[in-house]
């Protein structure tokens, strides 16, 4: 923890050093908010004159322009030493400790290399320093990791567009916790990511979009469905399992996913219907027959029928997602951010679900949104063993409340997120601040607090408080 404090102090020092010259604006009288504007004031004629002296033109483009690179150093840790009482008389100690200390480079590239053709790629590379849980998992040695996320080629011709490669397909309208956002798998490796938008993983797919006169079709086929990765050893979500959790052994079986969506826009509203044959992103693990070695990972296929709509009413945007899922496994844990804690049982059920979202622009600078996700298994008691009780009985789901405020000429964005389950068994509260020092440098800080009772799988993290700081350079 001392190391974390030292590094945080260093980051603060760097921030102060970089920002001070930028913020210094001598000789300028900053006006009070309640000042009466004097008509005599004219505009400094040279203020934006430089814009017209720039001889560059949008016509002059290079293939190198397509690169966007972000390099960041992140430190985060659990700062509240406490114990979690898992059973009467048995308390699990939770010591304050540094969890992540890592340098990341995120590269994104998009280039239209010839008319109608485009390539897009994104990926990241990370170096795990001393103190990071990956460092500890590697036997106290520094390690690196690389991952390609998006990587696809797109060809658009007349009304058609084809994308082949690693990509994501997003169907839900409700931001954050849509019941329709189930096509791509995701990885919530630790609490530095709790938004599904950041956790979504790309998959190998062919996507065909047809742009018609008044409506659009979008269809995909995935011949290599992937599943949520098992928790990384050493991460906050990793608990020593009785057997090794491995990826699904495909053998000679051919898995595929396919789906199609029809979308139409009306004045003030957009609607879509969709249908898909999918595999659940979370694998179900069974104990090995031998009683030792690797657990047996099992997949589950299901059918999804969905409908989504939005409606703009003044400054309020209402989003609605409806889903009917046929043959999903019971007990698939649905709390956003912690899908790796799911423990589905081998019992197929039909399920209905809805996500309702409200987004309200308080002003140019402030936004508030509320998303509620509710699901229910149909005929939930059918097929249960005597005495067997489902975790997800009745209506279950989650809610998400977000607020953001943009300050200081958009240099500072303060955001807060509250996320809980509908049964009020857990609450995750996040407060974040992102400060752009200039177009290249930015710093951010985040504090996450978790409350949970013994009805929630988040019980292990009850009373945890996590603090993180990140310095980023983009170009």
């Amino acid at each position: 923890m001392t190391r974390a404090i030292l590094l945080a102090s260093l980051a603060a020092g760097v921030l102060t050093t970089i920002t001070c010259p930028v913020l210094a604006q001598d000789d300028v009288l900053v006006l009070d908010d309640d000042v009466t504007f004097d008509a005599e004031f004219g505009l400094d004629e040279d203020l934006f004159g430089d814009a017209f002296e720039d001889g560059s033109s949008a016509l002059e483009k290079s293939w190198l322009d397509g690169f966007t690179i972000r390099i960041s150093q992140q430190l985060s840790g659990q700062i509240n030493s406490h114990g979690v009482e898992l059973a009467p008389g048995f308390s699990l100690p939770r010591e304050a400790e540094l969890e992540t200390s890592r340098l990341s480079a995120i590269v994104r590239y998009q280039y239209a290399f010839t008319p109608g053709w485009l390539v897009q790629a994104s990926g990241w590379a990370r170096a795990y320093w001393n103190g990071d849980y990956e460092y500890r998992a590697e036997g106290d040695s520094e390690s690196t990791e690389f991952r390609v996320n998006d990587f696809f080629v797109q060809h658009s011709i007349e009304e058609h567009s084809f994308k082949l490669g690693r990509q994501t397909v997003v169907w839900g309208e409700t931001v954050g916790n849509s019941v329709l956002d189930v096509i791509n798998n995701s990885e919530f490796r630790d609490f530095s990511i709790i938004d599904i938008e950041d956790a979504r993983l790309s998959q190998w797919m062919l996507v065909w979009d047809y742009f018609g006169e008044g409506s659009n079709f979008s269809s995909f086929i995935n011949l290599y469905p992937e599943f949520n990765p098992a928790p990384v050893r050493g991460s906050p979500f990793f608990f020593e399992p009785p057997f090794n959790l491995i990826d699904y052994d495909r053998g000679s079986s051919l898995l595929f996913e396919a789906g199609t969506q029809w979308r139409k826009s009306f004045e003030g509203s957009d609607i879509a219907f969709m249908a898909a044959y999918l595999y659940e992103n979370q694998l179900r693990y069974e104990d090995p027959l031998s009683g030792t070695g690797d657990a047996v990972a099992e997949t589950n296929d299901f059918l999804l029928l969905g409908f989504s709509a939005n409606r703009a009413i003044g400054k309020l945007l209402v989003n609605l997602d409806l889903a009917y899922s046929h043959d999903v496994l019971a007990n698939s844990f649905s709390f956003p951010g912690t899908s790796s804690l799911a423990n589905p049982v081998n019992l197929k059920k039909d399920q209905i679900g809805t996500s309702l979202g409200f987004e309200y622009a308080i002003s140019n600078y402030q936004n508030v949104s509320l998303g509620i996700q509710a699901q229910k298994l149909l005929d939930e008691d059918e097929g249960l063993q005597p005495g067997q009780v489902l975790i997800n009985d009745g209506v279950f789901g989650s809610w998400l409340l977000r607020y953001s405020n943009t300050l200081m000429n958009s240099d500072l964005v303060i955001s807060s997120t509250l996320q809980g389950d509908l049964n009020a068994n857990s609450l995750l509260a996040l407060l974040g601040a992102d400060y752009s020092i200039n177009d290249n440098w930015a710093v951010s800080g985040q504090i996450v607090s978790i409350s949970a009772n013994d009805e929630s799988p988040l019980l292990f993290f009850a009373e945890d408080v996590r603090l993180s700081a990140t310095v980023t350079y983009s170009f």
């Binding site: 300028v28 400094d44 703009a312 987004e359 000429n409």
Partner: protein, 300 residues
């Protein structure tokens, strides 16, 4: 015989003969006519047009009696394509794509602006982080809040609105001089229906008599306090259209200003209807191909 037609008198007579009808024509223009001509001029800048703009925003202060930025401005560079639709091309569809800064590159905004006051304008945004197109609620507004902003700047959809003139009482306040130019000072007061959707109780426009360009606009709240001011500068003819190439809007409540500099503007571009749809936001291969075709028209 006295020479009634000395050269000076002749010139004077010719001047009267030629200028009188123009003067009469200008006088015959009603305030509504003037605003319609202004609107036509504005629409011409976005009708079948490809533009490149720089959008700068900062907190402002005063130095040597002049308004200036009190902090480093946030600068965004964007490319915009627009086209007129509907009766007399009074509705506008436009798409704007951010080119800079790097972190926001590729973010696109599609807007449908309707002349008819009973129809709310529509906006969609593509955010790569979300991976999909998102409708934005432009909405109505009260005196405490702002309607939809253009990429976080002080320019709002309402400030860029054209049409809906039927929903205003339009008065000629006086003829004056602004920035050394003869101007009409015209007041626009929204009717009850429009007032519910507007942040302004009235606006006063200083319109260049010769060029039909706004040199200044004052926006007032319900307490008749000036809350925003727009200034047009660098009035130049681009592709035969008079335009204020540098437009600055000052928010007098938050003391923030945004400047929009028209770096390039090309009109008479043949913009296909398909380009002004959500496809342009999501289908990057289509967008880049079509943009190249539009740019190629400029070279011809």
């Amino acid at each position: 015989m006295r020479n009634y037609f000395s050269s000076k008198r002749l010139i004077g007579l010719i001047a009267i003969l030629f200028l009188y009808p123009l003067h009469l024509h200008a006088q015959e223009l009603s305030p509504r006519d003037i605003m319609e001509k202004l609107d036509d001029n504005r629409r011409a800048t976005s009708n079948s047009a490809l533009s490149r703009m720089q959008l700068s925003t900062c907190k402002f202060g005063v130095r040597d009696g002049k308004i200036t930025c009190a902090e480093r401005p946030r600068v965004k560079s964007l490319e915009s394509v627009g086209k007129g639709y509907g009766q007399e091309l009074r509705d506008t569809r436009s798409v704007a794509i951010l080119l800079e800064p790097a972190a926001e590159r590729g973010i696109g905004m599609l807007s449908y602006n309707y002349d008819d006051g009973s129809r709310d304008n529509e906006t969609w945004l593509y955010l790569s982080a979300l991976g999909r197109v998102k409708r934005i609620a432009n909405g109505s507004s009260d005196d405490e809040t702002e309607p939809g902003s253009l990429f976080g700047s002080e320019f709002t959809t309402e400030d860029q609105d054209t049409g809906k003139l039927d929903e205003y009482q339009i008065n000629l306040l006086e003829e004056a001089v602004e920035a050394g130019r003869d101007v009409w000072k015209i007041e626009m007061i929204p009717n009850e229906e429009r007032a519910r959707k507007s942040r302004y109780s009235r606006t006063v426009h200083y319109i260049d008599k010769e060029r039909f360009v706004e040199l200044k606009v004052e926006m007032y709240d319900q307490y008749d306090k000036e809350i925003k001011r727009m200034l047009g500068a660098r009035v130049e003819q681009m592709n035969g259209i008079w335009i204020a190439r540098s437009t600055t809007i000052m928010n007098l409540v938050t003391n923030r200003l945004s400047n929009m500099a028209f770096l390039e503007m090309h009109t008479g571009i043949d913009v296909p209807d398909e380009f002004l749809t959500q496809r342009t936001l999501t289908d990057a291969a289509f967008r880049e191909t079509e943009l190249d075709k539009l740019r190629a028209q400029i070279d011809r």
